[in-house]
Amino acid sequence: MSIDSGEVRHVARLARLELSEEEVERMAGELAGVLRHIATIGELDLDGVEPTSHVVSVENALRPDVPRPCLPRERALESAPEVADDGFAVPSPQA
């Protein structure tokens, strides 16, 4: 199992993660080692085995539908890096 630098760049784009060229190379080496270990699950016969996404069975975990005040706007905004017009400010999607 290996992963080349092109795949690392592709996955980094999916993950919204900037990586320098040096970081891409280092990441490719480190991930390849871990992926070799992970690939050992390919040895097992898992035909007909159901996947487990959650270990306890919980169905319809509902709570009472009671109206209550939401977080006040100023509290929601107080940790924001930048605020404008009572909202979260971000750079334009277009450069």
Binding site: A15, L17, I41, S79, P93
Partner: protein
């Protein structure tokens, strides 16, 4: 009794009892530990309370303060999960478990250091720098709840809470010579825990002894939390343990987790503890967990996959760090995440994104979920013949700082004996079994002994762990620091 050294010599449950009977003032207990935590020579704490706050006196915890892992949201108090990307974040609410502890008379002592987003086994992956092991400050305390473990072992805190995703309570407890309990998945609310891998994360106590673990756990669990849809009503109650023997108790020793890769000193300490268990009346037989050897590989697909999704929320918009100078939105996201996350977190995000990406999903994520089913079935089958599965908690004693940072897989192997229980969602506890020589031979360091039980069998497991703890008679006072 009033001198700080006398107070600090008491276990948390003993201190709580002394407050209840009026022998001790709750304020004196708080201040004795607050001053020690503030002088912290181990970098175990990232924030220490200045006063007891609005906490009411009384309650089962008697005002004995609790150290809390950084990743639990605490209203108005820094909560960064050890990450630069949450720099300066003070949440507008508290985690349910922090609220329950406070309501039971456990004020917040401070926030403890951890591997960033709980990803690590050494507490070296922290934006605040590494925590040191009180048994030898050139060594790691384990992780990811290493700050909580070091603080309790060094008696900078009476007790602490942490979280365990693949061993992050049990492994640091083992490396620091204390007790660490990972409850059944769903027994404790995850609301307000900064998420790592949601189907695995579980909060639990790190304490000086089994009695303290039972007392702290008893107030963390209980009724289902309406704010966590995966939490459950805990069946039965948790009392303080009292059992003194193990007559009729059947211990299963999985061959897959007690052989290759375990340091000889750790195995010797484990075997000696099994001999003591036999003397207490337990039967000890080998058992099979045929898929346990593949647990680590499955875990390192599932946990990073969940993490890559959970950590998508850190984008520099609503809280924490934002990279400066980006002139479009996408660059702001990618640079914020580049600068804000540490190397290990980036590796896990990449690994998880890769495992979930088109073309690889079935080969990695789908297969890993099926391995998880196999591992759960292995445990169910074993519990038909055994009351508890027992293993060494960690394959080695505390290792030197920096020894494993260059090799991610070597670091991951620390979780070899703890990950299978996490995948199965079952409860497990680590207690000290004694000291063993480090592989370089120059130090005697603590070893952890792990019990695992069927879901919701914490009470019986705490009882058995207590009986063995009393018979072993481990003395952890050598790690208590003069500060």
């Amino acid at each position: 009794m009033s001198a700080d050294s006398d107070i600090v010599a008491l276990s948390a449950a003993s201190a709580a009892a002394a407050v209840t009977t009026g022998e001790l003032e709750a304020g004196a207990v708080f201040e004795a530990y607050r001053s020690r935590a503030a002088a912290d020579p181990l970098n175990a704490f990232v924030w220490v309370a200045e006063d007891v706050g609005a906490n009411r006196a009384g309650g089962a915890l008697g005002g004995v303060p609790v150290a809390v892992k950084d990743l639990f949201c605490t209203e108005g108090v820094p909560s960064q999960s050890g990450s630069r990307i949450l720099a300066g974040y003070r949440p507008p609410y508290s985690a349910t478990v922090v609220e329950r502890i406070a309501a039971a008379g456990g004020p917040l002592l401070g926030k403890t250091n951890q591997d960033e987003f709980a990803m690590g086994s050494s507490t070296e992956n922290s934006a605040f720098g590494p925590t040191r092991n009180p048994w030898d400050d050139s060594r790691v305390p384990g992780g990811s709840s290493g700050g909580s473990a070091a603080a309790v072992a060094a008696r900078l805190a009476p007790w602490a809470i942490g979280t365990d995703t693949g061993g992050s309570i049990r492994q640091p407890a083992a490396l620091c010579g204390i007790v660490g309990l990972k409850p059944t998945y769903g027994a404790v609310s995850r609301y307000g825990m900064i998420a790592f891998a949601s189907s695995l994360d579980q909060a639990g106590p790190l304490t000086r002894d089994v009695t303290d673990a039972a007392l702290l756990f008893s107030v963390m669990t209980g009724a289902r939390d309406p704010l966590d849809s995966t939490s459950l009503d805990y069946p039965g109650s948790v009392e303080l343990p009292a059992r003194r023997d193990l007559r009729g108790v059947r211990l299963g020793v999985p061959v897959e987790l007690t052989g290759e890769g375990i340091e000889p000193g750790v195995l010797a300490s484990f075997e000696a503890a099994l001999d003591i268990a036999r003397e207490l009346g337990a039967s000890v037989e080998p058992c099979a967990l045929p898929h346990a050897g593949h647990a680590l590989a499955a875990y390192y697909v599932l946990a990073p996959a969940e993490a890559s999704s959970n950590l998508a929320r850190f984008d520099g918009v609503r809280y924490g760090y934002r990279a400066s100078g980006a002139d479009d939105l996408l660059s702001m996201y990618t640079r914020t995440r580049h600068d804000g996350f540490g190397d290990e977190v980036k590796r896990r995000i990449m690994l998880g994104t890769y495992a979930l990406s088109s073309g690889y999903y079935d080969a990695f994520y789908g297969r890993a979920q099926r391995v998880r089913t196999k591992i759960s079935k292995d445990f169910s089958a074993a519990f038909e013949h055994f009351d508890f599965i027992v293993t060494p908690t960690a394959p080695g004693v505390a290792f030197p700082l920096g020894a494993k940072t260059a090799d991610p897989l070597a670091m991951y192997l620390n979780d070899f004996c703890t990950v299978p229980m996490s995948l199965a969602g079952i409860p497990a506890i680590s207690i000290p079994s004694g000291l063993a020589a480090s592989p370089d031979g120059d130090r005697q360091l603590p070893v952890g002994f792990q019990f695992a039980a069927a879901p919701f069998c914490e009470a019986a497991m705490l009882d058995a762990a207590f009986a063995l703890e009393q018979a072993i008679g481990f003395d952890g006072s050598a790690a208590a620091l003069e500060v």
